[in-house]
Symmetry: C2
């Protein structure tokens, strides 16, 4: 027996990526075997290699796609009117986007070390791009006298770390909904960089 009825690469490919993302996020890249991924997809291990040259590349493509989507999604957010509005937009965007893709976020922050040097550099570069987006907002605000941040680079890293931490405790259906979380974090960020 080989191919099952109705199986196609347009289905299997995305399914492999979704399953891999989920399992990598839950158990860690090194702890998940190609056979486990294949089993969850409903396919033999060898079939995975129709869709990825090797395990590390599978991880890299997940991370790369996530970072690309993150940057594209932020760039699609309407530019607010001035640094304050743009900062608020950034805070709310980052929380919303990260909660929507908790698994991919987890991966991007935890499994970078499983990439070879070249792949690592690519992801690291995209991350720096994203951080620079925020840093620019902060710097603009400082210039206009709206913000007081003694070190805009450190401030942007601090803010991103704080916002990303939401994914470690937020649970759907819990005490707070997403908008309430956004309000709380925006309040803290706004004050943290206030002039």
């Amino acid at each position: 027996m080989a191919r099952k009825t109705g199986s196609h690469s347009e289905i299997t490919g995305p399914r492999i990526r979704a399953v891999a993302r989920s399992l990598f996020a839950r158990y860690g890249f090194a702890a998940v075997s190609m056979r486990q991924i294949a089993a969850e997809v409903g396919v033999q291990a060898g079939a995975l290699y129709l869709y990825t040259p090797d395990k590390e590349t599978l991880l890299f493509e997940l991370l790369k796609a996530h970072m690309d989507e993150l940057l594209a999604a932020w760039d699609a957010v309407p530019a607010g009117d001035g640094p304050l509005a743009r900062l608020e937009a950034f805070v709310r965007f980052h929380i919303r986007f990260n909660l929507d893709r908790a698994e991919a976020v987890f991966l991007s922050y935890m499994e970078l070390r499983n990439l070879g040097p070249e792949n690592f550099a690519v992801i690291e570069g995209l991350r720096r791009d994203y951080e620079t987006r925020l840093e620019t907002i902060l710097r603009d605000g400082v210039v206009e006298g709206l913000f007081a941040a003694p070190d805009s680079k450190v401030a942007s890293l601090a803010i991103i770390a704080m916002l990303t931490g939401v994914t470690t405790w937020y649970r759907e259906g819990g005490r707070l909904d997403r908008d309430a979380v956004g309000d709380i974090y925006w309040d803290m960020v706004r004050k943290a960089v206030a002039a």
Copy 2:
């Protein structure tokens, strides 16, 4: 050939833990083999089992010891005069302690998922203890009207995430020394919860 001259359990035990902490932090728990640890210690793999019943317990004991030391170290910090002084002490303590033990911090935040449920619960409980220390400071400050934090639990998690993030970018001998980093973060935290 068996034991080498001068080898004793008082030396090998701590060395195993130090090597394991370092390798786990660098490559991840699942990606490091007992043979790699043994090789770095200068011993055969079997000898590790004189010091730990299995690999997971080795990880658990590293995490447990780290959390115990974290709580003990914070409790040894002189209680400041009022919530503002205590918050400043917390911020500077957390940064200093985490930078001193970057490997253990990394482990504690990334390899929890490799523990069984009981071991996981123990570490999780200690972490919650630590978070509660900060939350109490915030709550006291809110009561006294010094702080404005709409949700002290979320605020404490946000602050800890922000502070812990220092370990991901700080490099010894870089542009900023530890005190300068402490100043920047204290400035942000102070304002973030300001009334």
